[in-house]
């Protein structure tokens, strides 16, 4: 679905460029990178195009590819859903955190477990812990609910808990809402969803003793979170339009759009 929106955007942009025949040529900003940031950056890009008439492109390739694209100069701004490594910073790249993606670990409200450590969560999802009594709950099997392959939330959850390709899911659902419903329906279920999607039909548990909230995500104490980062070159000026976009995204004006995309604005 999102891909289609991107495709449509791309087509519209190409059409706009052709129609403008050069007059708009310099008003362009190209981004490249994290697929998890698709929803947020898409909304920001749309708003930016509406406000300025510039063209905005987004190439959903993945954080690694996006960082490389900035380095090679094939895009204006790279998008990464992880912090830059020291080696990447040493190569002259600069990171600017625009938003933080918090992932809530949810259980049924009737579940007596209220806190898990990150290790326990990893153990549960890898199938090493299969009964709630092993983590302080009732004697019943744990039902693992997750997201489908390639979902940004799944990618985020698995990379934070270090369970990539090792999760033994009972159900792989295709939206935050579906996970929410499944966990609300099953007393033994555990699932993960974007923090903004949590409703009171489920219980968001604290991780390492920290309750998930906008505040604990912002101050970094809630561990199941990851940053949405803009990657630029240190000391190299952006094009005028790219700078405008950068300023817009990091300004207060963007916060509402960022929140609407389900993540916590960093500024």
């Amino acid at each position: 679905m999102k891909k289609y929106i991107c495709m449509i955007l791309a087509v519209v942009m190409i059409a706009a460029t052709l129609a403008a025949c050069g007059s708009n040529e310099t008003k362009k900003v190209a981004t490249d990178g994290s697929t998890s940031m698709e929803k947020m950056i898409g909304a920001l890009g749309e708003a930016f195009m509406e406000n300025t008439g510039a063209t905005f492109t987004y190439n959903p390739t993945g954080s690694g590819t996006g960082i490389k694209a900035v380095k090679d100069g094939t895009c204006d701004i790279g998008l990464s859903s992880r912090y830059l490594k020291d080696s990447e910073k040493a190569e002259g790249l600069k990171e600017t955190v625009v938003a933080i993606d918090g992932i809530a670990v949810i259980v049924n409200p009737s579940n007596t477990v209220a806190n898990l450590t990150l290790e326990q969560i990893a153990g549960i999802y890898k199938g090493e812990i299969t009964n709630w009594k092993d983590v302080g709950g009732n004697d019943s099997d744990i039902v693992l609910i997750g997201r489908e392959e390639n979902s940004g939330t799944r990618d985020g959850f698995e990379s934070i808990t270090d369970t990539e390709d090792a999760c033994k899911y009972r159900q792989e659902l295709t939206s935050n809402g579906a996970v929410l419903t499944a966990v609300a329906e099953n007393a033994n279920a555990i699932g993960y969803i974007s923090l903004s999607s949590v409703k009171d039909t489920v219980k968001a548990i604290s991780v390492n003793g920290v309750v998930p909230s906008e505040a604990t995500i912002k101050d970094g104490s809630y561990p199941v979170q990851r940053p949405f980062v803009l990657v630029t070159k240190e000391g190299v000026a952006l094009s005028k339009t790219a700078q405008e976009f950068f300023d817009f995204v990091t300004s207060d004006k963007a916060n509402e759009i960022i929140s609407a995309a389900g993540v916590v604005p960093a500024n």
Binding site: E149, S151, E164, R170, T174, T181, A182, E185, N186, N188
Partner: protein, 292 residues
């Protein structure tokens, strides 16, 4: 007179032309879909290898060492459809016999209305009710940790195919000449014997068509199945979470890219060929019967 005939002829020709064009819309759609599916489905199969693709038992497209085996989907689709037929055909068929032969006109009217209503319910509603009622029900009934399973999908599909089976079977049974049944009754057969020995055999090609329609609906259903089956690419087992061919395509399409995306088109192609094959085989049998 001659002139008006000429005019008429021209008008007729224009109308024929228009009808031909409208008729071609269908043909063109089928052609476009077929060609598109083949063109976009073949490359991934070539890259993965036909054998590994069709008979690989691991589907793990997003990992660092991606695997594209769709045997779990193929088997789940076959088992799911077969299971739906096992549950749905006896219920639908016997309902049709009852409504056509035994029910009073009033009962028939009310029940037929209910059947039509069942046919009109959107599949997402089947899925939703299945998710809220059936899945917890199966969990409690069988004492499972979770009810989202092949079993849940089979029950939902069985209910979904009932309307087409019942309606087409009724039409076929109603069309059996009354003389056949009267003759049978006059020879001393009981009504029940008459229905099953005379009416049903006379209507069997219509009933077979009903089953074909049921198969078509069951194997092509995605939404309702996705909501109750758990959607994990396991090898099928009755109380395990499974993923069908249809749901593999629809759950992956949102985010997939590269070879993963191409492989989804290949799955769609396999599904398409499956449905073609089933229709061809059953048509063959139906035609054979008619000629006898």
């Amino acid at each position: 007179m001659v002139k008006s005939m000429k005019k008429n002829k021209q008008f007729e020709r224009a109308v024929h032309g228009l009808f031909l064009i409208l008729g071609l819309v269908t043909v063109a759609s089928v052609l476009v879909i077929t060609v598109y599916l083949v063109i976009s489905g073949i490359p991934a199969i070539l890259e993965i290898g036909l054998w590994d693709f069709l008979f690989g038992d691991t589907w793990d497209p997003a990992s660092s060492d991606p695997k594209f085996g769709i045997l779990p989907f193929i088997l789940s689709s076959i088992y799911g459809t077969a299971g739906a037929l096992v549950l749905g055909v006896p219920i639908g068929f016997l309902t049709a016999v009852f409504l056509s032969k035994k029910a009073s006109p009033k009962v028939k009217e009310i029940m037929s209305g209910a059947v039509s209503l069942l046919a009109g319910i959107p599949s997402v509603v089947y899925g939703l009710v299945g998710m809220m009622v059936l899945v917890p029900g199966i969990r409690d009934l069988f004492g499972l940790p979770d009810g989202a399973s092949l079993m849940a999908a089979i029950v939902v599909l069985a209910i979904m195919i009932l309307p087409s089976i019942i309606k087409v079977s009724i039409t076929a049974l109603d069309a059996v000449p009354k003389e056949y049944e009267d003759a049978s009754l006059a020879l001393g057969a009981t009504p029940t014997e008459t229905w099953f020995r005379v009416s049903v055999p006379a209507a069997k090609s219509g009933i077979a068509t009903a089953v074909v329609l049921g198969v078509g609906r069951a194997i092509g259903e995605a939404m309702a199945v996705m909501m109750v089956s758990g959607n994990v690419a396991n090898m099928p087992s009755l109380f395990q979470s499974v993923r069908f061919l249809t749901t593999a395509v629809s759950s992956g399409m949102g985010y997939a890219d590269g070879l993963y995306r191409e492989a989804l088109f290949s799955i769609a192609l396999v599904l398409f060929l499956f449905i073609m094959m089933i229709n061809a085989v059953l048509n063959f049998f139906l035609k054979g019967e008619k000629h006898e």
